[in-house]
Point group: D2
C-alpha cells in the first residue's frame, strides 16, 4: 500500500467528454501512477458515469501537485473539505495562492455544501460573500474580499458535447470545415439560429469591419431587423464602415453598386466619422434621419444593445465608442449575460475578448476566411467553438437567405 496516495472520484459524461482520458493523461504527464478501483459507465448514453481511482505520488509534494491538476479536471476527493479563502489585502490585488478560474461550470464546497459560482469566466478569481460565490476579475477585487485560494473544495464540470438533434455542431463534429459543403453548413447555421430563437434564446453577434467590406452588411442588417440577432458587440471600424456604406454608398471608397471608385473616396470613412460627431452619436444620427439604413441603424431602431469597444488602431473613434477598455469589458459582459449563442465574424480581437468572458456552455460559432484565426481562438480555451473557414461576404448572405422571414 502506497503511503502517498489519495482516492478521487469523478462523475458525469466521463468518456464522451474525455474527462477520464484527461485525468489519466495528467497523472502520467506528471509521472504519477494510478489504479482504477471502480468504473461504471452509464448503461445508456443519457446516464452519468462514475469512476473511482487511487492516485499515487512519489512523495507528499508530488501527490499534492497531481491532485491540483486533477481537481481542475473535475475530480473530487471522497472526504470533501471546505474550500479556503483569504482576504485581499489591497484593492486590485489577489491574495497569494489564489485559485484561477476556468470557463467551465464551477462549484465550491463552502460551509459543507456545494455552491455554484456565478458569472463564470476564464482566468479570474472567486470571491465568496455569505453563502454566495462569484467570479471576479482582478481590477474589481476590493480590499477585504474573501478570495478562494488553493485547489481544494472546488469542483469543475466540463460541459457535455451537444447532441440534441442534427444541429450544425454535430454536423461539423469531425474533420475541417474547409472540406465540407459551404451551402449545407450555411443551412445548418440558419437552422440553429431559428431553433435558438424558437426557444427564446439570445443571439449575440461579434463582428469586424470585413462584414461591410465583403458586402455582407445588408444580410446582417436584415437579421437584426427580423430579430435573429439580439445584440451587437464590435469595435469602431464596423460602425464607421457601416455608416460610410449607409450614407455614401461606398466601402473603403468604392461604390458598392457598380464597383467604380468614388471621387475622393479615400476620405469617405473619415467623412462618415465626422458625420457621426456632427450628429453627436449614432442614435442621434438616426433620430435626425441622417442615418437611414445599415447595421447600426437597425440596432437603434430595434432598440437592441450594441457596444463599440475602442482599440488602439481606431480612426476617430466615434463618440459612441467606449475608449476605456476596462469599461468596455464591463459593458460587453453585461450584454453577454444569458446569451445562448454567440456568432463571431472576422474579428480576432473582439472574438478572443468575448471568448474569455463566456462560460463554456454557450454555443459559439466563429466565421473567418483565415484558418489560423479560427484555430487560434479555439486554442485559447474557447474550445466549445465551432469554426467555419469561409468567405464572410458569401457565407452570411447565404445564412440570411435561409432564415428568410422565418422565426
Amino acid at each position: 500500500m502506497n503511503k502517498y496516495s489519495k482516492i478521487i472520484e469523478v462523475k458525469g459524461h466521463l468518456i464522451d467528454s474525455l474527462v477520464l482520458t484527461k485525468i489519466f493523461d495528467r497523472v502520467m504527464d506528471l509521472d504519477g501512477k494510478f489504479e482504477v478501483m471502480k468504473i461504471s459507465v452509464g448503461k445508456l448514453k443519457t446516464d452519468e458515469s462514475y469512476a473511482k481511482l487511487r492516485v499515487i505520488g512519489k512523495n507528499k509534494t508530488h501527490l499534492s501537485e497531481i491532485m491540483t491538476a486533477l481537481h481542475r479536471e473535475g475530480a473530487t476527493t471522497k472526504t470533501q473539505k471546505n474550500c479556503k479563502t483569504k482576504s485581499a489585502l489591497k484593492n486590485m490585488v489577489f491574495p497569494d495562492n489564489f485559485y484561477s478560474t476556468t470557463n467551465n461550470h464551477t462549484a465550491i464546497y463552502h460551509n459543507n455544501k456545494w455552491v455554484d459560482v456565478d458569472n463564470m469566466m476564464m482566468d479570474k478569481c472567486i470571491v465568496v460573500k455569505g453563502n454566495n460565490a462569484k467570479c471576479v476579475p482582478i481590477r474589481e477585487v476590493k480590499k477585504g474580499d474573501k478570495v478562494v485560494v488553493g485547489e481544494e473544495g472546488i469542483k469543475v464540470s466540463t460541459p457535455e458535447r451537444p447532441r440534441e438533434g442534427m444541429n450544425v455542431f454535430q454536423f461539423m463534429g469531425s474533420g475541417s470545415s474547409s472540406e465540407r459543403p459551404t451551402q449545407h453548413i450555411a443551412r445548418k447555421v440558419a437552422e440553429d439560429i431559428i431553433n435558438t430563437k424558437k426557444k427564446r434564446g439570445k443571439i449575440v453577434l461579434v463582428g469586424g469591419p470585413a462584414i461591410v467590406h465583403t458586402g455582407a452588411a445588408d444580410a446582417v442588417a436584415k437579421m437584426i431587423k427580423t430579430g435573429h440577432i439580439n445584440a451587437v458587440l464590435a469595435g469602431n471600424a464596423l460602425a464607421v464602415h457601416d455608416v460610410e456604406y449607409a450614407t455614401l454608398g461606398t466601402s473603403l471608397g468604392m461604390k458598392v453598386k457598380d464597383g467604380t471608385l468614388a471621387v475622393r473616396g479615400h476620405r469617405n470613412h473619415m467623412d462618415a466619422i465626422n458625420s457621426v460627431f456632427k450628429a453627436g452619436s449614432l442614435k442621434k444620427m438616426v433620430q435626425q434621419k441622417k442615418l437611414r439604413r445599415g447595421i447600426m441603424y437597425e440596432c437603434v431602431k430595434k432598440n437592441i444593445p450594441f457596444v463599440l469597444a475602442g482599440s488602439l488602431r481606431d480612426d476617430g473613434p466615434l463618440p459612441d465608442v467606449i475608449t476605456d477598455i476596462a469599461e468596455a469589458q464591463r459593458e460587453y459582459k453585461k450584454v453577454l449575460k444569458d446569451a445562448s449563442m454567440v456568432i463571431m465574424v472576422s474579428t480576432m480581437l473582439h472574438s478572443i475578448a468575448t471568448g474569455n468572458m463566456l462560460p463554456a456552455n454557450v454555443k459559439v460559432i466563429v466565421i473567418d476566411i483565415n484558418q489560423p484565426t479560427v484555430t487560434k481562438l479555439m486554442d485559447r480555451g474557447t474550445w466549445q467553438a465551432l469554426g467555419i473557414v469561409s468567405d464572410v461576404g458569401a457565407f452570411l448572405p447565404m445564412v440570411a437567405n435561409q432564415i428568410g422571414g422565418k422565426k
Copy 2:
C-alpha cells in the same frame, strides 16, 4: 563621354505597363548609370510611347551584363543584330548559353527581320527552323536543333494591362480581394465569362477536388452544360470525388443532402474508383449509364476535352488518368492552345503547372480560400492573374447563378 556605354530604345505602353520603371530599376540594381536621351509619352492613352537611353557600365563585361538584363525587359539596340543559334549536340540537351524564355510575347531578329516565336511558355528555349521560331521544352529538343543562344536579337513585349470596359480585372485593379464585396466580384466574373463567350473565346477550368467537397460541383457541371466552360484540366482527385458524389451522393463519405455520415462512407471514394475501373473508363461509364450526372458526366456528354494528370498522392488513379507527367504536360498544352480565359480553382499544383504553359496575354482568374496559395501563384510569374481569396463552395454557385442560362 563614357567608353562603355550603349544606346537602347523601348517602345510600347512604357509607363502604364511599368516597363520604363523596370528598366531604370535594373540599371540601378546592377550598379550601372543611365542618361535619358529622349522620351516621348503617347499624347493619348492609346498612343505608344518611345524612349531612348544611354546605358553606362564600368567596363565591357559590366555593360554586357546590364544589356542582358535590359533585353529581357523589352529594350532593343538601334543597330539590331541577328540572334545567334547553336546546334543541340544531343537529344534533350540545350547548347551552352541557351536563351531561357519568359511567358511574354517574344520575337527574334532572324535573317534581318523580326520573327514571332510560336507557343510561348516560361523557362523553355527557342528553336529556329527555316524562317520559323518555336518555344520548346528541354525534353523535346532533338540533336541538331538550332537553339537560340545569348540575349541579342531578342525582343520581349510585356502585355498591356487590360482596360477594355469595366471588367473584373479592372475592378480588382488595386487592393486585396478580401476587402472587396464578394457578391459583386462574383457578378463581375460572371460578366467576364459571358463576354468572353460572346466573342467566341475558349474558357478552360483548372480545378481541384475542393470543388466537390465544398459543394460547388453542381455549379461547375451546370457551367459546362451551358457551354461556359469549354475544357477541364484536373487531376485524379477531382474526378474521383465527382464520381463519388454523382454515384453515391456523398463527399468524403458524408451525405451531401442531409449532412449525415453514410455507413462505411470512408470507402466510398475507393468504391467510386473501383466503379470506373469496372466500366473501363469515365466515358464508358457514361455510355453504360452508370454515371449520370456531375462534372465528368457533362464533359463526356458535351464532348469537351478533359485531361486528368497523375500525381504522386493519387488513390487509384483512375484509368483515365495520364500517369506519365511528361505526357500529361503535352496534353495540357494542347488543350490550353488558343484559350482566352483560364479559371483556376483550389489547386496549387495544377494551377502553377498551367501558369507555366500559358503566354502572358491569356486572362487568368485564381480562386482559393488560402491567400498564400494565390500569392504564390502570382509570384511564380503568372503575374497577369487575378487572385480572388474566397470560399469556392460559396463563390462558384454565385457565379453560376449570375450566368444563369445566358450566353
Copy 3:
C-alpha cells in the same frame, strides 16, 4: 431484451487512445444505443483495458451498419467469424463490397486464427494468399486474387500515443506549435533524431524546394553526411534548386552569399537542369566531378536511396525523375519500408503522398510555415503526425546545429 443487439469487446489502451470514446460516439452518431456490460481499466498505465458492450439497433440493417462502424474502431464480436474473400474478376478491379483499409495495424481472422496484414497503407484492399495477408493498391490487383470483403473477421488496432521519455511528441502533446519556444522544439527534434539513430532506426526526409530557397540546404546536406538522414524522397524541384545552388551559388537567381542578383540569374535553374541532362544523371554528374556539394551530392556520396517523383509543374524534369507517378509511388514505398521516422518539410504534395503510404505507428514530423498545410496533412489521416509551424530556413539549421557531430 432487445432483439437487434450484439455484444462487442475491445481491448488495449482504450481510454488513453480514445478508442472507447470513439466507439460510444459512433453508436450515438448512428442513432443506436448501447449498454456497458463490463469495463476494466488497467490498474496501471502499462496494463491493457477491456470493455464489453451490448450494442442495440432499430432493426437488422441498422444494427449491421453500426457493427460495421465499430469493427473499424477495433471492436470484435465474441464469436469471431472468419473474414470473407471474393476473387477479383479482372486485373485492377476489386470485387464489390471490398474492405477498404486504414493505416492502422490490421489483422484478419482467417482459417480460425488471427493473421497480421503486411504492408499496411490507407485506402487499399487486403489480398489473402495461403495463410498470408497483404495490403494491395487497386492497380496491383490481379484477376483471381482473393480480396477481403465486408467488415467481419477484421481487427484494427489504433497505436498507443508515444510516452517513452520526454520526446518531442510528448512535449508538443497539447496546444499549437506556434506558441511554443522554437529553439526548444528544435532541440527536442534533434534529440529525437539522435535517439532514433541510437536505436538504429531509419530516418527518411520528404522535402520541397523551399529547403533550398530559404537557405536550409547546407543544414540538410550536413545531416545526410553525418548519417542522420538515411533516404530522401522529393520531386524535381528540390533537386533542380539544389544543383543550381551547388553549381552556380544562386537560389532562384539570387547569389546566396551576398544577396545580389546574378546576371541572367533567371535562367540559372534551367542551366542547372541542362547540366544534369548533359552529364546524363545526378550520379554521373557527381562521378564527373561537376556536382561537388549539396543535398543530392551527399545522397550519391553516402550511397543512400533518393527518389524524385515527377509532377505536372516540373521544369525539365531531370533525367533522374520518375515521370510515371504509379512507378514513383512504388519506389517511394520501397524506401519507406521499415522507416522509423519520417520528416516532412515544406511540400504538401509529397507529404500527403507519403502519409498515405505509411502505417500509423511510424513517427512523422511535419514542418511548414503555412499552418493550413500542416492542418490539412493531419486531417487526411496522418493523425499521428507532429506539426511544427515554423520557418524552415531558420528551423532546420537550428536542428542541424543541435545534432552537431553527435550520433
Copy 4:
C-alpha cells in the same frame, strides 16, 4: 482646344517611385484624357524628373474630380492658389469638405508660400495656425480651429524608394520573403539596425506576446540592453508573459528550460499579473528587485520609454497599461516622434495602429509567421514596410546573434 482642361506639373523621382504611372492610371480610371506636354527624366538616377501634362475632362465637374485625384498623387497646377480653410464649428467636428491626409510628406500653399505640414499621419486633418500647419486627429480639433478644406493648394510627395547601399529593403526589393534565405535576411536586418544606430537613429520595437511564447524574449531583452532598441510599444500581453517568464520561468505554464508543464502552470500568467499589482507597477517591481530580467526589466533599467496600450482582450490589465485607447494613441505618437526605424513583430493590432501614426519615410520592418497579416498591414497604407514571413522564435535570436555586442 478642349474647354475643360487643366495643366498640371509633377516633380521628383517620377518614374522610380511610380508617380507618373499612378497619375496616368488615375486619369484613365476616371475616364479622363491627357496629353503629355513635356517630360524630362533625370539624366542620372539622382536627378529629379519633371513632367507637364494637359488633363482633359468631359465637363467642369468631371475635370475637378480628376484634379482632386491628381493632387493626391503629387500633381500641382502652375498657377498655384492658396489652400482654403474653414473654422471648426464645434470641438471634435471637422468642417465639411475637410482635406483628409495621407501619410506622405505634405505641404500647403499658404499666404503665397509652401508650408510643410508637421506631424504627418494618415486619415487626419490639417489645422493652420499663423504660418504653421499641423496634422491633427478629429478628437483634438477645437472649435474655431482653421481646418484645410478641398484639395487645392496642397502638395504631397511620395518618398523615394531607399537605395542607399545594399540594405535589407533593397535586398528584398522583389519577390516574396518566403523564398529568400532566412539566415541572410536576418543578417541584413542586423546590418540595417547597426547602421541605423551608427547614424544615431532611433529604433522602436512594436511587439506582441508571441515574442515570449516562441522563445525570443532573451534576444529582445539583449537588444534593449545593448542599445539597439530604444523604445517599446506593446500591449498588456507582452508585458504579462514577459513577467511570467522572468519570474516563474514559464511561458503559458510550460517550463521553458526543459519543456515540462509546471504544476498549476495555467495560473502563472495570472500570478504574474498579481505580482505587478502587488508591487504597484513594473518600475516599482524592478526597484523592489522582484523583477530581475526580461524585456520590461531592461526597459526600466535602461530608462527607455515603453507604452502598454490596453485592448479589449486583456487579462488584468497591468497597472502600467493605459486603458483609455485615445490616451494610449497620444503616448504612442510621442514615442514614435523622430523614429528612424520601426520593427513590428507578431502583433497586427499594434502594428496597424503604429503604421497609421507614421509618416511614410520611416523605415518599417514587419515580421510575422502568418502571411495574410503581413499583407494586410501593407494593404492598409503602410506600403513602405518590408514584410518578412518567418518564425519569430527563430528569426529574432538570429538577428540578435548577428548584432552581438557591435554598435
